[in-house]
């Protein structure tokens, strides 16, 4: 888009004034007449069967209005995809309450009472008899021949064998154990590599290793990390005229209606979700939280609104955790640094619920970022009795890149090649390939990649050469080091809908189904439509955050999809409205539609002209497709319902994104860090950081900067301090509050970080924009890890985070002193 007035410009988002004045309402800020409060009873043990429950004392308490047990929850319902495909419900999926808790801290039952104190007192008065069951918190322990299983049925998800040509069987828990021989090298800190669940390969890996001048074989572990959303997953629910009204945070206003209706077995038209503001998601509430069922069902039972405030401790249990991944990489390099072959094995930990695919999905980002000539990937995901694993910013990609980047840094040192040079040499370019070949023998590829330009620009902005010249020099007890890292993640989906109406008042009423997590994409993407319609931004009225307001089918704001997917949908809706406006003008003023242009708030051509307000009035007169009484057939039924409700009010723009896309959209980041380590104490600080993003056209620079820098700092937390560990004896999480798994504070980061975007349009999307939420994460984490090894050498750490005791012990003993494979225990 050339000569833009809105796209690429800063502006004040429509929600910001409410935020700075304290008027913005998150779920816990709503009040309802006669509102009750809910409290949860949590399992004190990691795996047990509830033998008996005595609620008599609680029920006798004045003020107690309802008690909800797991047996009262509806059975999980099947879901139907857009393509009409039925996805069978997993009977062992995570539910809101359970009589077989599979992690300590899981909710067993809930009480609603007139106030929170009464509800808490009632919880205390309920007697539950738990029968303890075997448990395991370490995935590698569970893989041992005699290792315990997280569930009675086993320790991995799988599907039963079916005859060739028949559909795969339903997911089930199976048992997978490795042999004693597989663990032969465990005591040397080398990750065992037994039978995998997922395996792929391209090229000749063994030939690559044979022709390599350097072959490294490294084990590295990435610890697990809580999402720590600042707004816990509090929810308020009530029923009116058979409809459920839910106030709760989510990463998708529109798609959360589908999940709530599935959880509660309601017709989606009977669910209204109010979610104008959400206090962080980071992947942990993609389509809401299953726990929001609890206040909904308690409300139905008690006949009153129910507020379920979630405490920080409860959030730590139920909120979600990025899975730890143990990795082992064998990598072969040519003399010039070219990556010839990679053999990568990853073990992912999981809760006893649905598999989080991080271990299995991460390696393809390694194949994209470093373009090895041949690669083999193996992965397994093991169930443990620990809290639910959920996607977290750059899921899988972060861990795989964190496992691989230190290997590349070590190789560059051994081959005496500059760290920027070796990454540039192996970098993808254009429609670069990734992953294994499909059934037709074709490998997938990116829509575009400009990581080489990002490395070049970052080298300049960061001052790589000057900083490198002083790295390794000791001044007093301090030594500095510099690190660079590259990162990538998927950055956009396709096929969603745009919807707006230009009314006779001349204003453009845009319906936004995007969740409002603060990335501002809920507003930013619609600047595209306003720009195309030549409507000044002050004449745009945006509806968002309330599903009764007729919102269109929209992507989930996860996996950096939104900017790409919804800018395409906005473009499609605006193109639809422009075509209609031209036709309206031609019918009204004469001439052919093609002779008209939309510009300056008018539709003009051949000396004739009418305002968009006049077009809107005329569209209502003409009816049919012009004002939404006739709709395109390919739009989603959610959009069709919303558009029908808005029909007859003006000129409607409504369309599905059907633009072609050749390849899969990925965004890239190059990150550069300088650290200063005190070798007497092991403490270190990040002196400076620069990130250069390659994610196509920038729609809103300030929001982009916030994402680029903010997600970089999230990644830094993975290098600096943040992790959760589990006590093996009792199976309990040792981080139940923020300070025990410390995310970065404002003092942990450099004071003047620099972030830039290449701003090169992606050729495969009409607006040119891709997402940026995920790829900064691994860049931030790995630039610091690599800067540490630049300062201190290769023999310091073999797992992240790298804390001062890691450094101090390694420097004292001259070798890494922490076992990588015990990172989560």
């Amino acid at each position: 888009m050339a000569d833009t007035k809105l796209v690429g410009q800063n502006y004040q988002t429509p929600d910001l004034l409410a935020k700075v004045t304290g008027k913005s309402k998150y779920a816990e800020d709503f009040r309802a007449e006669g509102m009750l409060f809910a409290k949860l009873l949590l399992s004190p043990v990691p795996h047990a069967r509830v033998r008996s429950v005595d609620t008599s004392a609680a029920e006798a308490m004045p003020g107690v209005r309802a008690i909800l047990r797991a047996s009262e929850l509806p059975e999980p319902a099947d879901s139907v995809t857009d393509l009409g495909e039925t996805i069978r419900a997993n009977p062992k999926a995570e539910r809101a309450l359970t009589d077989e808790p599979v992690y300590a801290g899981e909710a067993v039952l809930a009480v609603a009472a007139v106030d929170e104190e009464t509800a808490a007192a009632a919880i205390e008065a309920i007697q539950v008899e738990f029968e303890p069951l075997p448990f395991v918190v370490d995935p590698i322990v569970s893989l041992r021949p005699d290792g315990p299983n997280a569930r009675e049925e086993g320790n991995v998800w799988g599907r039963p064998q079916t005859a060739p040509g028949t559909p795969p069987g339903p997911l089930e828990v199976q048992t997978l154990k490795w042999t004693e021989a597989d663990f032969a090298e465990y005591d040397q800190g080398k990750m065992p590599m037994g039978k995998p669940q997922v395996e792929w390969e391209y090229g000749d890996v063994e030939a690559g290793f044979k022709s390599a001048v350097l072959v490294l074989d490294e084990t590295f572990s990435v610890a697990n990390n809580q999402h720590h959303v600042l707004e816990p997953r509090t929810a308020l629910a009530y029923w009116q005229n058979g409809k459920l009204f839910m106030h709760s945070g989510t990463q998708s206003a529109v798609q959360t209606v589908a999940s709530i209706s599935r959880w509660l077995r309601l017709d989606p038209k009977d669910v209204v979700l109010i979610t104008e503001y959400t206090g962080g998601g980071f992947g942990s509430r993609a389509t809401g939280s299953v726990q929001c069922m609890i206040p909904a069902l308690l409300s139905k039972k008690a006949g009153a609104p129910v507020m379920m405030r979630i405490t920080r401790e409860e959030e730590q249990y139920i909120g979600g955790i990025r899975p730890a991944v143990h990795g082992r990489v064998k990598a072969g390099f040519a003399k010039d640094g070219r990556l010839l072959a990679v053999d990568m094995y990853t073990i992912g930990e999981n809760s006893a619920y649905e598999a989080q695919g991080d271990a299995a999905s991460g390696s393809r980002f390694v194949s994209l970022l470093y373009q090895p000539e041949a690669m083999r990937s193996r992965a397994i995901t093991v169930l443990t009795n620990t809290p639910p694993r959920r996607a977290q910013s750059q899921p899988g990609g972060l861990q795989a890149i964190m496992i691989f980047e230190p290997v590349l840094a070590k190789a560059a040192r051994k081959l005496n090649i500059d760290q920027v040079v070796i990454r540039r040499l192996n970098a993808p370019e254009g429609k670069a390939k990734l992953g294994p070949a499909n059934r037709e023998g074709q490998r997938g590829y990116a829509t575009s990649s400009f990581i080489k330009q990002a490395l070049d620009r970052g080298k300049e902005v960061f001052g790589w050469d000057e900083r490198k010249a002083r790295s390794g020099q000791r001044v007093g007890s301090k030594v500095r080091g510099v690190g660079v890292a590259v990162s990538s993640f998927v950055a956009g989906s396709v096929g969603f809908d745009g919807l707006f109406v230009i009314k006779p008042d001349g204003k453009m009423y845009i319906q936004s189904g995007v969740g409002n997590l603060g990335t501002e994409s809920v507003f930013d993407v619609h600047r595209v439509a306003a720009e195309m319609m030549s409507v000044p931004w002050e004449n745009v009225v945006l509806a968002w955050g309330d599903t009764s307001q007729n919102l269109p089918w929209t992507c989930v704001s996860g996996g950096s999809q939104t900017t790409h997917a919804m800018s395409r949908a906005a473009h499609a809706a605006a193109s639809d409205a422009i075509a209609k406006a031209k036709e309206v003008a031609a019918r009204t003023l004469g001439g052919s539609p093609a002779s008209y242009q939309v510009a300056g708030g008018r539709v003009s051509g051949g000396g004739r002209s009418m305002t968009l307000a006049e077009v809107a009035r005329k569209a209502v007169e003409l009816g049919g497709k012009f004002d939404g009484h006739e709709l395109p057939e390919n739009i989603n039924k959610v959009t069709a319902t919303s558009a029908t409700a808005l029909a007859g009010q003006g000129l409607m723009g409504v369309a599905r994104d059907t633009y072609p896309r050749d390849g899969t959209s990925f965004s890239f980041v190059a990150g550069f860090a300088e650290v200063e380590v005190d070798v007497e104490t092991g403490a270190y600080r990040v002196v400076d950081y620069t990130a250069i993003g390659d994610s196509g056209t920038i729609i809103h620079p300030r929001a982009y900067h916030g994402q680029l820098m903010g997600r970089s700092v999230l990644g830094m937390g993975h290098a600096l301090a943040q992790k959760t560990v589990y006590d093996q004896h009792y199976g309990l999480a040792l981080a139940t509050r923020m300070y025990q798994s410390r995310p970065p504070t404002i003092l942990d980061i450099p004071r003047n970080m620099k972030g830039e975007a290449l701003n090169i349009p992606d050729p495969e999307t009409p607006v040119g924009a891709r997402g940026i939420g995920e790829p900064p994460v691994a860049a931030g984490a790995c630039a610091i890890l690599n800067a540490l090894s630049d300062a201190l050498g290769d023999d310091v750490y073999r797992r992240a985070p790298v804390t001062l005791d890691t450094i101090l012990m390694a420097l004292e003993h001259g070798r890494p002193m922490q076992e990588p494979l015990t990172a989560n225990i």
């Binding site: 913005s24 009040r31 104190e117 206090g279 923020m738």
Partner: protein
């Protein structure tokens, strides 16, 4: 009920057969006390029973919040955050952790930033309390720090925002001309999980600059 307590800030809870609940209803009807339901510590018999124990403190007190005198029924164990949010309807103050870890609940007590989740309401009876809702002038003119945030599009999800803004307003009262580094230390008791610190600091610095412009006239 213990009636020995004598404090000008506290209304004596009624003796002689008039229930505390009815008394408060009467006060509410008279428009004197805050009328919103005392949600979290509503007078269920369970809680009333506790309040009636010997040695308990008086519950009806006067708070000075955002320049207004507010009469409010406060349980002995009630934190300022809960009073503000559930009794006074000031939900701009957020609860992120309820244990002084995150700073989302920061308000000013006598111009000093305090974690309102960790301050008992009874301890601030004679003090001046300011929340995010009280920052803008009566005519809607925003505080310079609010303006700085608007100008720079500071913060993302903004659940931490009111805490950060109040911490900054408090810090600037004593340090009107901070460097970026000093300002970072000034708000280091506040956590942002979007980790938007870089943009936040730019916005708060802008707010500090506007504050100085305003002070100069």
């Amino acid at each position: 009920m213990d009636m020995s307590h004598d404090d000008a800030q506290t209304t004596r809870v009624t003796p002689n057969g008039v229930s505390r609940r009815n008394f408060i209803k009467g006060v509410v009807a008279g428009g004197v006390a805050v009328s919103s339901a005392a949600y979290l510590f509503r007078s269920s018999p369970l809680v009333s029973g506790q309040a009636a124990r010997a040695g308990s403190v008086e519950r009806l007190l006067t708070l000075t919040v955002n320049g207004q005198s507010r009469r409010v029924d406060v349980a002995p164990q009630e934190t300022l955050a809960m009073t503000l949010r559930y009794k006074l309807g000031l939900t701009g103050t957020k609860l992120g952790c309820d244990r002084a870890e995150c700073g989302a609940c920061t308000v000013l007590v006598d111009d000093v930033p305090r974690y309102s989740c960790s301050v008992l309401t009874h301890s601030v009876r004679s003090k001046t309390i300011q929340t995010i809702e009280g920052l803008a002038a009566a005519d809607g003119t925003l505080h310079p720090v609010q303006r700085g945030v608007l100008e720079e599009q500071g913060f993302q999800c903004a659940f931490c925002m009111s805490g950060f803004i109040m911490a900054t307003v408090g810090y600037l009262k004593k340090h009107p001309n901070p460097t970026r580094e000093e300002l970072a230390h000034g708000v280091s008791g506040n956590l942002c999980r979007c980790q938007d610190y870089d943009k936040i600091l730019t916005a708060l610095e802008r707010g500090a600059a506007i504050s100085r412009e305003v002070a100069r006239g």
